[in-house]
Symmetry: C2
Subunit: 344 residues, 2 copies
């Protein structure tokens, strides 16, 4: 078993830096279309065996150090009785968005063991078959609720942000509902065999420091602490506004996953060296060919400077038109990079 990812999360010294990519099991892989066929995404996710095959697909192309569950942040909406449609280029679209506290009360509490058992089955299948850790994931309260409040969302998230400012109590209830349910879902994924759980806060970067502190820090902290108290290793993914990083670190996560907006060494100083870090290649650098991608990969590894606790990743998901051979070149570059403080 190659458990470098889990040891990096614990900041143990390693012989080489582990690497995986967000959205690695997707359209950048030629065989993905074949495996997916004409099936609708949620149908496929409910089929644990078919999903497990997609999750494992990247290993046919490059030796990443972790697999990430084929799933979507929006799957738990279904468990709460929310109708959702995945719209291409837009993301989850909700038929009946949340407009008030009354709508929040209508959300149906659920037990992830029952309602999301297919995700847990997928993990169990994968753990049997593969020799790298499986990562589960859940949405952070802000990101998960943003789709429920404004649908489809405006680029600036104006509907989400004005809802929070106008109805802070309804917001707090909504965020708490999801913080609690996602904590339980994360714990369930870990018990099913997921080595760590990544919490995705892909959209909180739209907030100011004051608004994040006032409205988002507490529910995010609740989600992460509940999982940590249950012994679940966590990675806290955040995208956008580097000014929020100190608060993102305060909210929790054994590792914090950062984007390309801040150089890796500065980001690591900002979140504190008592935290593991994941990141932070700009996925767009992969579109500029293997030379540019490998050069930028090495620059990041140099900034990490061999310090234990670095997981190499992108700052955001792989873009669909990425060439998988460039990804393979990046994986090789990461694995070939000599760690100064290597202890093997």
């Amino acid at each position: 078993m190659n458990d470098r990812i889990l040891r990096a999360i614990r900041r143990e010294p390693l012989d080489r830096t582990p690497v995986w990519f967000m959205r690695q099991a997707g359209r950048s892989l030629p065989r993905y279309r074949e495996l997916r066929g004409e099936r609708e995404m949620f149908e496929l996710i409910r089929d644990a065996e078919a999903s497990a095959k997609i999750t494992a697909l990247p290993l046919e192309y490059y030796p990443v150090d972790a697999l990430v569950l084929y799933n979507d942040l929006a799957t738990p909406y279904l468990a709460a009785g929310i109708e959702v449609e995945m719209r291409k280029g837009v993301g989850p679209v909700i038929a009946d968005p949340i407009r008030s506290a009354v709508d929040v009360e209508r959300l149906r509490p659920f037990d992830p063991q029952e309602a999301l058992g297919f995700n847990l089955d997928q993990i169990r299948i994968l753990v049997e078959r593969i020799d790298v850790p499986v990562l589960g994931f859940v949405g952070a309260p802000f990101t998960l609720c943003s789709y429920l409040i404004e649908s489809p969302r405006h680029r600036d998230l104006k509907g989400v942000k004005s809802f929070i400012l106008e109805q802070p109590e309804a917001w707090a209830k909504l965020a708490d509902f999801w913080a609690e349910h996602m904590a339980q879902f994360g714990i369930a994924q870990h018990r099913a065999g997921a080595g760590a759980i990544q919490v995705f806060d892909s959209w909180a970067g739209a907030l100011s420091v004051e608004d994040y502190r006032e409205y988002v820090l507490t529910p995010t902290q609740r989600l992460l602490r509940t999982m940590e108290d249950a012994g679940v290793p966590t990675i806290h993914y955040f995208n956008g506004n580097p000014a929020l990083l100190p608060l993102v670190a305060e909210a929790g996560g054994d590792a914090v996953s950062v984007d390309w907006r801040l150089p890796l060494d500065e980001a690591w100083r900002t979140i504190g060296h008592d935290r593991a870090i994941q990141g932070n290649l700009d996925p767009i650098a992969l579109l500029a060919g293997p030379e540019v991608a490998v050069r930028k990969t090495r620059e990041i590894l140099q900034l990490a400077n061999g310090r234990p606790g670095h997981i190499f990743n992108l700052g955001h998901g792989i873009l669909p038109d990425t060439d998988h051979r460039v990804l393979a070149a990046v994986v090789d570059a990461v694995h070939d990079f000599a760690l100064r403080e290597a202890t093997a």
Copy 2:
């Protein structure tokens, strides 16, 4: 003449903080539709008299301390022989995007005095009629070129960023063409009577620190220095990624206009107190009603702490569905706020 804006740019002590709003002459004003009628935007911009009326319209609703020219960042494309269509919700769309150095060579050099005389005429008309400064504006090289390279642009600007990484020499030529032409256009606007020129870099926030430093700093600096050497007061507007602020300040501008992502006091420390600052209310706070908007306005003024050199503004343009009465309440709140270090 109320020249508080110009004195704030020079960091002179004032009796009250000056305020204006990006996109103040737009759809948030009831009379805007009436003045605009069914006319296409560029047709209207070419009509100096009609444009001047729109520019002056905000003064019917609230006493802002500056007017900003009714114009578009994309107008100079026309002068360079580029066909452009304004697409609703998308922005400028170019028929024939720039794909290589050869396309850059095809750009037609132009003299803004001749090719953009209607903008200069509009300024001359306004200066005669109104007693607050008129602000002109131009696009910064990254923002202006981004629409020319990827059209319509992807949310992540992936086409723009991969072009820069793959063809750095073609990029440098393209950025220089616009840096030089926009400097000349800014100087021409100032000579026609514009009190200051705002340089809009609305999209450079998508870049990493390294990429901004390597590809964007030099042409942006060239644009700002050429105007400054000609005695033009400048405001350098930037949106997104606060990690870039030190470089944005290094690129120039008598004032730097910042968004809401960083608290105003931190942003001011970051750009240096030897620089004026403009900002930084989140335009979405205006959608949450006058109480929230005024509370957040006062918080920003408290962070500015009476230090000379603050121009109150939003972090981005007014959203079309903003109520002009909320804007009026914000203007009043800014003007009523007692400046500790008031001298006038």
